[in-house]
């Protein structure tokens, strides 16, 4: 369940008109996939939506409309690799890159 406040972004003043209104809910798709959970997002003026555990978005609303959404939220109890390990992909990629660079440097020196 994601309750959020997107009223910072939108119409006025001019600097509030940003892509954040779409970027902000977009991460929930990845969150649903990473953890295989259903997600419901309730926003005030921004995008409200439901995301199923496969990352498919349902009932995404338009901006700046008052309304009521209803749905049955499906989820799973799967414990994914990401759920168990957290954000290891980024640091792991950095370490591998450094190892490859070091290896390449030694190879060039030897050659």
């Amino acid at each position: 369940m994601n309750i959020t406040n997107d009223t910072w972004f939108g119409r006025e003043p001019w600097y509030s008109r940003t892509a954040a209104l779409w970027q902000h809910p977009a991460h929930l798709v990845m969150y649903a996939i990473e953890h295989r959970v259903g997600v419901a997002r309730a926003a005030n003026t921004g995008v409200s939506l439901f995301v199923d555990p496969r990352g498919r978005v349902h009932q995404q609303t338009e901006l700046f409309q008052s309304e009521v959404l209803g749905a049955t939220l499906h989820t799973t109890d799967v414990m994914t690799l990401y759920t168990r390990t957290g954000d290891v992909v980024g640091p792991l990629a950095l370490v591998l890159t450094l190892v490859l660079l070091a290896g390449a440097g030694r190879y060039r020196t030897a050659a």
Binding site: M1, T4, V37, A42, S66, V68, G70
Partner: protein, 179 residues
């Protein structure tokens, strides 16, 4: 899920924020009996920019709207807390009502605050709260829990046991249960 769609200038106007928000919520609440009640009704983060715990009249008005759903209502409002001795700070909190609209003792305080918007990096909350109360009241979310999130009371945990994970704003990167 209920979207009151109250614009930011209205929300930040102390004269109109409560009335405008409650009017919008009331307009979207069911007016008659419903054959099938939802299992849970959700209002957005910081729906009510006021401390609901300390305002009996505000509580009464919220109850009047929430009870029309005949279901628990999860919603954002300002919680009261403290940072250090004798320094009161508002929390960006989530509350839960029961099926009759009555406020339960469940409370979740947002713990991953947005830098600059909701917290000043590297500056203690107590200092911000004592030096800038006007900032805190304007933002409406000046502080949050540090470390692991937790419900406010033991009974709050039990009342929230039927709820799924709860994230405020941009969520969290883990699947750790917060209750």
């Amino acid at each position: 899920m209920v979207r009151p769609n109250v614009a930011q200038p209205v929300r930040l106007d102390p004269e109109s924020t409560i009335d405008s928000t409650l009017t919008a919520l009331s307009r979207l609440a069911p007016s008659g009996s419903r054959k099938v009640a939802p299992e849970l009704v959700v209002w957005p983060e910081a729906t009510i920019l006021a401390s609901i715990e300390a305002d009996g009249e505000l509580q009464r008005r919220v109850v009047e709207i929430a009870e029309r759903w005949r279901a628990p209502v999860l919603f954002g409002a300002m919680g009261q807390g403290s940072a250090g001795a004798h320094v009161a700070v508002p929390f960006n909190s989530a509350f839960l009502t029961d099926e009759n609209g009555m406020l339960t003792d469940f409370r979740y305080d947002k713990h991953r605050l947005v830098p600059l918007v909701e917290r000043v990096p590297f500056v203690p909350v107590a200092w911000v709260a004592s030096a800038g109360r006007c900032l805190a009241s304007t933002v409406g979310a000046a502080s949050g829990r540090s470390g692991r999130p937790e419900a406010e009371t033991d009974s709050g945990r039990s009342s929230a046991s039927s709820l799924p994970l709860l994230h405020t704003c941009y969520g969290a990167g883990s699947r750790e249960p917060i209750f």
